[in-house]
C-alpha cells in the first residue's frame, strides 16, 4: 500500500535562507505521527510547503500516491488532506456548532437552492451533519457551549474546536499545526483522547507539536527537524535515545 504522505527531497528557499533543506520521509496510512524540532526548525514551513501555501522550491510531495504539485487551497481538502493553523482560526460571528458544521461544507450533497427551499433531502442532510457535529463536540467536552459564540471560548477550547471542524470535512489525513499550544493539562488530555480516537477511526494524522509528553504518549512515528534538515525519523522510544536528537534539543554532546 502506498504511504499516506511521501516527502521526496523537498527544499524551500526564502531569498538566501534555505528554510527546508532536502527533507525526505514518508508517513504510513492510519498512523499518528509527530513532527518535532526546536524553534525555527522549519516545521510550519514544511506544513506550508506540503499544502502549497509556500510551494516547495524543489522536491515533491505525494499524497496517497498522487503528486500535490500545484494543488492548493480547497482542492487539497477535496483530496482528503485537511490542515489546521498554528493560531486558532475559528470563524467569528458563528456559534460553536456552526463552526463545526462549517467544516462539512465540501461534503454538502444538496445544492444551495434545495437548502433555501428546505427540501426534504437538504433537511435530512442537515440533520445528519448536526448529529455528527454534536457527537464530536460531546467527545471533546464542548457540547454545553454549542450555541455560544465560538470566539467567546477560551483559546484552548477554540483549538479543540478547530480539530473538530477539520474532522467534519471527513479527511483521509489531518495536518495539525501545534494543536496543544495554549492548552492546559486537562485540555491536552482531552485532545490526546480525541486524536487517538480519530486515529482509531482510520484517519492518518500528522501533528507539529512542542509538548513532548503528548507526542511521546500518542505518536507512533516521530520526525525530527533541525535547521531545515531531517535529523531523525522513527518510533518515539528510538527517537528519545537518538544522540542527534538530543544534540539538536540540548545543544551539546551527552
Amino acid at each position: 500500500m502506498t504511504p499516506a504522505l511521501e516527502i521526496v527531497s523537498l527544499s524551500r528557499r526564502f531569498g538566501g535562507l534555505l528554510a527546508i533543506d532536502d527533507v525526505s520521509f514518508s508517513i504510513a496510512r492510519g498512523g499518528l505521527s509527530a513532527l518535532i524540532g526546536p524553534n525555527g526548525a522549519g516545521k510550519t514551513t514544511l506544513f506550508n510547503a506540503i499544502t502549497n501555501i509556500f510551494p516547495p522550491t524543489s522536491g515533491e510531495v505525494r499524497f496517497m500516491g498522487q503528486s500535490l504539485a500545484g494543488i492548493a487551497g480547497d482542492k487539497l481538502a477535496r483530496l482528503g488532506l485537511v490542515r489546521t493553523f498554528q493560531t486558532a482560526r475559528v470563524f467569528p460571528g458563528m456559534t460553536v456548532l456552526e463552526n463545526a458544521l462549517a467544516g462539512a461544507c465540501l461534503r454538502a450533497r444538496s445544492n444551495a437552492v434545495a437548502q433555501m427551499l428546505r427540501l426534504p433531502s437538504a433537511r435530512a442532510e442537515e440533520r445528519k451533519l448536526r448529529e455528527q457535529a454534536s457527537a464530536l463536540l460531546d467527545l471533546i467536552g464542548l457540547s454545553a457551549f454549542r450555541d455560544a459564540a465560538a470566539t467567546d471560548l477560551p483559546m484552548g477550547a477554540q483549538k479543540n474546536l478547530e480539530v473538530v471542524r477539520a474532522l467534519m470535512a471527513d479527511p483521509a489525513m489531518l495536518l495539525l499545526d501545534e494543536p496543544a499550544a495554549g492548552l492546559n493539562d486537562s485540555e491536552t488530555a482531552d485532545l490526546a483522547a480525541l486524536l487517538t480516537a480519530i486515529r482509531d477511526c482510520g484517519v492518518t494524522i500528522m501533528v507539529v507539536e512542542h509538548n513532548m509528553s503528548l507526542v511521546m504518549g500518542i505518536a507512533d512515528q516521530v520526525v525530527v527537524l533541525d535547521a531545515g534538515r531531517l535529523v531523525a525519523a522513527g518510533a518515539p522510544a528510538d527517537i528519545q535515545r537518538d544522540a542527534r536528537v538530543i544534540e539538536a534539543y540540548v545543544g551539546g554532546s551527552v
Binding site: 480547497d74 489546521t84 470563524f91 460571528g93 461544507c105 427551499l117 428546505r118 442537515e126 459564540a149 470535512a169
Partner: protein, 634 residues
C-alpha cells in the same frame, strides 16, 4: 497639432486636481491603510469656504484662501478625530472604507444645507484674460492650479522624506504596532494625515473652482476621479498619484474631444478596469505591497445574531401581518408611496446583505445592478412592448452576465481593490445610463414606463405595488434564511472572516464569492425593475452610485448579516424625510451621519441589537436560580 496641444493642456489642468485628490488618498492610505473616500468632499468644502470669504465677505484672495484652508482643516480634524481615527482603530478595514463613504455623503449633505443645490463658480485669481505662449492660449487659473499642485507635492515630499515628523508618518505606514512601541503616537499621526489630506483637498478645490463650477455633490466626482487616478498610479505612491492624475485628465479630455464628452468617463473607467486586471497594484507600486492581508485578519469580535426557529417564525408572521395591514389604515399623505419605495429598495438591500453581511465582500456598486435591471425591463416594456415579467427576467439575466464579467476582475482582487472595483463598475453603469442617450433617454430619463402586470392583472395602485414588493421580500427572506441556516450560508460566513481557513476546509472560495455576487445582482436587478415600474419613469440619478451608498447605510443601520435588518434601515431612511417634511433638506447629511454613527456605536444594527436583547431576556428563565427571574415572579 495646435488643437491637440490645447486639449492636452486642458487635460493637464484638469488632471492637476485629480492628482491633488489622489495625493490625499495616498497620504492617508500610507498612514492608516484605508482609502478615505471622503477626500473629494474636501475640494467642495474648500471652494465653499472660499466662496464665503472671498465673494460674500470680500476678503482679499490670499487671505481668503488661507482662511478657507484653515477652516476646512479644522472641520476635517474635528470630524476625523471623532469618526475616522476611532474607526481605524476598532473596525475592520472594509468597514472603515464604507464609513468614509458615509463621511463623503455627510460632507455632501453639509454642503447641500449651506449651499443649496445650485452650482457655484469663483472668480479667477488673476482675471479672465488667458496668457499666450506663441499661439497656445492658457487660462491663467490653469497656471495657478499647476503651480499650486506642484507646490503641494513639493511640500508633502519635503515633509514626509526630510523631517522627523515624516519619518514618524512613514513608520506608521510600515508597521503601526511597532511604531507605537517606539513611542510614535499613531492616532495622532493618523489624524495628522487626515488633516493634511483635508488641506490638500481644500487648496485644490479653491484652485479649481474658478475653472469648473462646483456644487454640493461634486465631491463624488472628485473622489471617483481621484480614486481612478490613484488606482492607475498605484495606491500609496506619491509619484503614482501625480502621474495617474495627469494621465487620467489628459485621457478624459482627449476622449471628450474626439469621441464624446458623455463617454469621457466611461473610457476612463474602462481604462481603470483594464488596469485592475493587468496590474492590480498600479503603475508605481514599487516594493512589496502593503500587508493588507495581515491587518484584514484582525479578528473582530462579532456576536452571532441568531433567533430560535420558533421565535423567528413568530416574529416574521407578526411583521408580515403588520406590514400587510398598513395600506388599509388611514395613513398620512405620501406615506404609502414611501413604504412602497422602502420595500422595493429592501429587496436590493437584501441582496447586498448576502454579499456584504454574510460573505464580507464590500460592494459599492449595488445600484449598478439596479440600473441594469431597471433600464432593461423599462426599455423592453416601454419601447418594445414586452410583457413586464419578461422584461424583469431579461434584466436579471443581463445582470447575472455582468456579475460574471465583474467577477473576472474582482476574482483576483482583495480587500480595498475589490470594493473599489465594484465602485468602478457602478460608476461605469452610471456613465452608460447617462451616455447612451438613444437607448436610455440620457440624463433626462426614460418616460412612459407602463405598470407592472402579470397575467392581465396590473399593479397600478400604490397599495398593489406595495403588497407585491412585500410578498416578494417575504418570500426572499424566507428562502435566504433557509440557505443561511444550511451549508450554503456557512460557506459564505467562512469566507467572510477567514478565506485561508475556509479554503483549507475545502470551501471553494471563488465560487462562494461568485454565488453571493449573483444572488446580490439578481435581487438588485429585480428591485431596479420594480422601481422603474413603480415610478413609470427611470432616470440615471435614481439608480446612480449615491444610491449604492444609501443602500449600504440602510444595511448597516438595520444590521448586517441579519437579512431582515435591512428592512428597518430602509424604512427609517425612506420614511423619516416623508414624515418630517422639514428634514428633507437634511436627508443626505443624516444618511451619512447615521451610517458613520451606526458603524461606531451600533455595529450590530437596529435589528441585530433587538435580537441580542431578545436573546438576553430569553436566557433568563433558563436559569431558575437567577435573580431576575425570581424578581419577575413576585
Amino acid at each position: 497639432m495646435l488643437g491637440f496641444l490645447q486639449i492636452v493642456i486642458g487635460g493637464l489642468s484638469q488632471g492637476g486636481v485629480f492628482a491633488a485628490v489622489a495625493l490625499g488618498f495616498s497620504l492617508v492610505y500610507r498612514v492608516t491603510g484605508v482609502v478615505n473616500l471622503s477626500q473629494g468632499a474636501f475640494c467642495v468644502l474648500g471652494a465653499m469656504a472660499m466662496y464665503y470669504f472671498q465673494v460674500a465677505w470680500g476678503w482679499p484672495t490670499p487671505l481668503a484662501a488661507a482662511a478657507s484652508i484653515v477652516a476646512v482643516v479644522a472641520f476635517g480634524l474635528a470630524v476625523g478625530a471623532t469618526t475616522f481615527v476611532p474607526a481605524v482603530a476598532t473596525l475592520p478595514i472594509s468597514s472603515t472604507l464604507v464609513l468614509t463613504a458615509g463621511l463623503l455623503t455627510f460632507f455632501g449633505g453639509v454642503a447641500l444645507i449651506v449651499w443649496g443645490n445650485q452650482p457655484y463658480a469663483l472668480p479667477p485669481f488673476s482675471g479672465e484674460a488667458p496668457v499666450s505662449f506663441g499661439q497656445l492660449r492658457v487660462p491663467t487659473q490653469g497656471l495657478w492650479l499647476a503651480g499650486g499642485v506642484a507646490a503641494m507635492i513639493a511640500a508633502l515630499w519635503w515633509l514626509v522624506y526630510r523631517t522627523q515628523l515624516g519619518r514618524a508618518l512613514q513608520a506608521c505606514a510600515e508597521n503601526a504596532m511597532a511604531a507605537s512601541l517606539m513611542g510614535v503616537d499613531v492616532k495622532r499621526m493618523m489624524l495628522l494625515s487626515f488633516g493634511l489630506a483635508a488641506a490638500i483637498g481644500a487648496a485644490s478645490g479653491l484652485l479649481v473652482a474658478p475653472i469648473t463650477s462646483l456644487q454640493f455633490d461634486s465631491g463624488d466626482f472628485f473622489t471617483t476621479s481621484g480614486f481612478v487616478a490613484v488606482a492607475i498610479g498605484g495606491m500609496g505612491s506619491f509619484a503614482g498619484a501625480v502621474v495617474g492624475g495627469l494621465l487620467l485628465g489628459v485621457a478624459e479630455q482627449i476622449a471628450a474631444y474626439y469621441v464624446s464628452s458623455l463617454f469621457a468617463n466611461t473610457l476612463a473607467l474602462l481604462l481603470l478596469l483594464a488596469m485592475l486586471l493587468w496590474r492590480p497594484n498600479g503603475l508605481f507600486a514599487a516594493g512589496p505591497a502593503r500587508r493588507v492581508d495581515v491587518r484584514s485578519e484582525v479578528v473582530v469580535h462579532r456576536a452571532p445574531i441568531r433567533l430560535a426557529n420558533g421565535r423567528m417564525a413568530g416574529l416574521a408572521l407578526a411583521l408580515v401581518a403588520v406590514l400587510g395591514v398598513l395600506p388599509l389604515l388611514p395613513l398620512p399623505n405620501g406615506v404609502l408611496p414611501s413604504l412602497t419605495i422602502a420595500m422595493i429598495l429592501f429587496i436590493s438591500v437584501l441582496g447586498l446583505d448576502v454579499l456584504m453581511g454574510w460573505t464580507g465582500q464590500v460592494s459599492l456598486g449595488q445600484a449598478g445592478f439596479m440600473a441594469i435591471g431597471g433600464y432593461t425591463a423599462a426599455i423592453l416594456a416601454t419601447n418594445y412592448d414586452w410583457p413586464p415579467l419578461a422584461g424583469v427576467a431579461a434584466g436579471m439575466a443581463l445582470s447575472l452576465v455582468c456579475a460574471l464579467l465583474l467577477s473576472v476582475v474582482t476574482g483576483r482582487l482583495r480587500g480595498h481593490y475589490l470594493a473599489l472595483a465594484t465602485l468602478t463598475f457602478g460608476l461605469l453603469v452610471d456613465s452608460l445610463t447617462v451616455g447612451l442617450v438613444d437607448v436610455t433617454g440620457g440624463p433626462s430619463g426614460l418616460v412612459g414606463v407602463p405598470s407592472f402586470g402579470v397575467a392581465g392583472f396590473d399593479f397600478d395602485t400604490p397599495a398593489s405595488m406595495y403588497w407585491l414588493a412585500l410578498a416578494l421580500a417575504a418570500v426572499f427572506v424566507f428562502t435566504l434564511e433557509g440557505g443561511m441556516r444550511s451549508q450554503f450560508g456557512r460557506g459564505l460566513q467562512a469566507v467572510r472572516t477567514d478565506q485561508l481557513a475556509a479554503a483549507a476546509l475545502g470551501v471553494n472560495v471563488p465560487r462562494v464569492k461568485l454565488a453571493a455576487l449573483c444572488v446580490s445582482a439578481a435581487l438588485a436587478s429585480l428591485s431596479g425593475s420594480l422601481y422603474a415600474f413603480n415610478f413609470h419613469f427611470l432616470s440615471p440619478e435614481m439608480v446612480a452610485t449615491p444610491r449604492s451608498f444609501e443602500m449600504i447605510a440602510m444595511l448597516v443601520l438595520g444590521g448586517e448579516g441579519t437579512l431582515v435588518g435591512g428592512l428597518f434601515g430602509s424604512l427609517v431612511l425612506t420614511l423619516l424625510p416623508t414624515l418630517v417634511q422639514g428634514l428633507a433638506a437634511y436627508k443626505t447629511m443624516a444618511e451619512g451621519a447615521l451610517l458613520v454613527a451606526s458603524f461606531l456605536y451600533l455595529p450590530e444594527g437596529l435589528f441585530g441589537r433587538f435580537v441580542l436583547w431578545l436573546g438576553r431576556i430569553g436566557a433568563k428563565p433558563a436559569n431558575p436560580n437567577g435573580e431576575p427571574a425570581a424578581k419577575a415572579a413576585t
